[in-house]
Amino acid sequence: MSIRDEVNGLCEQGRLFRLRPIFLDPGLRERREIYVSEEVNARFSGPWDDPSVEIRCGRAQADLEAFVSRDPIVVARDPRRAGASYMSRLIPPRDEVWDIRSYDPTPGIRVLGRFAEKDVFIALTWEVRRLLNDFDSPEWRTAIRRCATAWINLFHVYEPLRGDYFADYISDAIFDREP
C-alpha cells in the first residue's frame, strides 16, 4: 500500500478533503494537489463565530486553493526572512513541516502541513500567526509538533516527502530573497 492509497482512503473516510478550484482561469491548469484535514476543512465550511471570521476563512481558502494552479509559487528560502512569500519550509528542516501563509486581513493565518509527494501538500493545522510569537518561540515549536502529530495520526508509518531542493517538493516554484 502506498501513501497515495492512504490519501485516497482518508478521503473516503472523510478525514481528508481534496481542495480543488471550482474553475480555472485561462492558461492555468491543476498542476498540484492540496488536501485539507478535518481541522482546516471546518474553517472553510463553517459555521463561523462572527462575520469577520467568516470573511477571514473565505480568504484563507482562496490562498490555499492557489497552491493548485499558481505558476509560479514564491517560496521563502529562509522562513525567518520570508517577507511575503507564499510558503516556506519551517525550521528545523528535519521536521518537514511547511506553512502556507494567508496574510490579510489581520489576523494572519498560517496553515501548516507536509508534502506526501512532490506537488501533493497535506494541509493539517490552522494557526493564528500572532499567537505564535517570534520564530523559535515555544509556541512555534508547539505548532510544528502539533502538525507532525496530526500527520502521524493520519499516516502512521508513512514518512513525509524529504528533499534538498525546492524542485523535490514543488514544480514551478521560485524562491525569494531580499533585494
Binding site: P51, A62, V74, D119, F175
Partner: protein
Amino acid sequence: MIESLDLDIDKIPLARLAFFRERLRHHFHQLILKKFLALQDGRSPEFTKKKLADRIHRRPEVITRLLGSAGNLTLDTLSDLLLGMGAIPEAQVVDLVSKLQEPEFSPKKMEHIETPSLYSATLVRPLTAPQNGGAATLR
C-alpha cells in the same frame, strides 16, 4: 458551496464573497509576477526589483513583498506595478456558471500529475549558503 453562487440565492455568503475577492487578487498577482519574470527572462534581464521600485516610487522591500504574495493587492498597486513594467491590465467579464467545473471538495482520487519542472535546482536547505544552479530567483 457552488449552490451559494446561484442567482436565485438572495445573499451570497460572506465567506464566498471573501473567497472570490482573494481569488481575484491571486489572479492579478499572477499576472504581475509572470510579467516580471518574463521581463527578466526575456528582453530585460537586468530588470530588477530595485529598478521597478525606483520607477514607481516605492522601496525595493515593498516590491519584494508585492511580488511574494497576493496579500492586500489593490487596483492602484496593480496599475503601478504593471505600468512600471511597461504594461497595463486588461479585464473581461464572463458568466461564472459557464466556468464551474467541479465541487471544490472533490471525491476525485489522488492522481499523478506530470508537470515539467522549470526550476530544477534550487536548494531549500535554509541554514546553508544558497546555491542556485540555474534556478529562478527573484532579484
